[in-house]
């Protein structure tokens, strides 16, 4: 069931940049978004999700710097019938902790396994695809997990390739050290910076665990 998204909701400026980005997305896309402000973060995450909902895809958002309530309010402002989407299960809004540490601890292989099964379940349920936006800043609360998180980032591409999946990992560049940002560039073939989508030449299709 597709949610209705108003074409140019008052005060949102129409999100022309997202239409351009959307036209270049392809199944299996695993993007990272590097941003500096909460506004930049939402201006990418919300229309990306609203667009997915409008296309009838199942959508998940793992929030951290914004609360799930803020994400839901932002989607409402874009014309999404949030209550109905939540009720039907087309939309899920969680905290990043719920998504990444469903088993109580963070295990990159477990997250990957359950994410792939989530995508497959969406397809079985009749959705044309699945999209996920995840705020990665939660990892800053426990930097010891950063290395295994980067293992997940490196594995992700191969795991979702050919699946009807589109995902954005959001990194606040003002909160992460430079070396993490370089690692995100090493692990994402395409990158969103501000409002633009770039093919990323620094991406390394290498084995995970490389230091």
């Amino acid at each position: 069931m597709a949610a209705k998204v108003a074409r140019s909701p008052a005060g949102t400026g129409g999100f022309w940049y997202l239409k351009e980005i959307e036209s270049r997305l392809k199944p299996g896309d695993h993007l990272c978004h590097l941003y500096e402000t909460k506004q930049e973060q939402l201006q990418m995450a919300l229309p990306f999700l609203a667009m997915g909902l409008a296309k009838g895809e199942r959508c998940s958002c793992a929030a951290h710097e914004n609360t799930p309530a803020e994400v839901e309010a932002g989607l409402s402002a874009l014309g999404v019938d949030v209550d109905r989407c939540l009720l039907t299960g087309q939309l899920g809004v969680f905290t990043a902790g719920e998504l990444y540490m469903s088993t109580g601890s963070f295990d990159p292989y477990e997250v990957l396994r359950s994410s792939v099964s989530t995508v497959n379940k969406a397809v079985e349920a009749g959705y044309p695809g699945m999209r996920i936006v995840a705020d990665v800043t939660w990892i800053l609360a426990d930097l010891a997990k950063l290395d295994s998180f980067m293992v997940l980032e490196a594995l992700w591409d191969n795991a979702v390739r050919d699946l009807p999946f589109r995902g954005i990992c959001q990194y606040n560049a003002r909160r992460f050290p430079g070396n993490t940002i370089m690692k995100t560039l090493r692990t994402h073939p395409r990158v969103l910076v501000g409002r633009q989508l770039y093919e990323n030449p620094f991406h390394e299709a290498t084995q995970p665990g490389r230091k």
Binding site: L34, G178, T180, P201, F202
Partner: protein, 198 residues
């Protein structure tokens, strides 16, 4: 890959006016890029300058020696200079992006007047962390670099330790250098605004 074969690959692709940045996490990664870069410049007869901050001047000289550079002779002839960031970037007491860029351009012209085919500069950027008031000015200077150095006989390498800088600064650095040295590769950098053709 040995240092020299990697460098031959990269060196072949360098061009006058190149404004490069390199990212590294430790001294090994830093030195495997910058020392061959300088040595090659010296071998080609170019005038070379190194601006040191997280390494001492003595460490840079020792590193070059270990790479087979006859440091004493090069220093004496004036072909090689190794200075501290304080002496170079803060020579006027405070950092002024326009004055700094003019100084670099006049150094290129002076090298040519002295008969060198060009100038090669490599600088460490960590001094900014001790003088964060200069950060915006320094990034403005970096932005000016692409256009200001274009077509001049100069190759400039700005080095950034990604363990020391915040991600947002690294992103700005990425947006101000048209080509990037990372690992042992030279990349055309799509995150940098291209210069208008002329």
């Amino acid at each position: 890959m040995s240092g020299s074969s990697y460098l031959t690959q990269i060196e072949r692709r360098l061009k006058p006016g190149d404004h490069l940045c390199s990212f590294y996490e430790n001294k090994t990664e830093q030195f495997q890029v910058v020392l061959p870069f300088l040595k090659r410049g010296l071998d080609l007869g170019e005038k070379c300058a190194y601006i040191a901050d997280e390494n001492t001047v003595a460490e840079i000289k020792a590193g070059l020696l270990a790479h087979g550079v006859d440091v004493g002779r090069r220093l004496e002839s004036g072909q090689l200079t190794v200075v501290t960031a304080r002496e170079f970037y803060l020579r006027l007491g405070r950092f002024d992006p326009r004055a700094m860029m003019s100084f670099v351009i006049s150094a290129v012209n002076e090298a040519v007047r002295e008969g060198y085919p060009g100038l090669r500069v490599a600088g460490e950027s960590t001094w900014i962390l001790k003088d964060l008031n200069s950060l915006d000015d320094f990034l403005e200077y970096e932005t000016m670099g692409n256009a200001a150095l274009r077509n001049l006989p100069v190759k400039a390498l700005c080095q950034y330790n990604v363990n020391r800088f915040l991600g947002s600064i690294i992103m700005k650095v990425l947006q101000t250098h048209s080509r990037v040295l990372l690992g042992l590769d030279l990349y055309e950098n799509p995150f940098c605004e291209p210069l208008p053709a002329r």
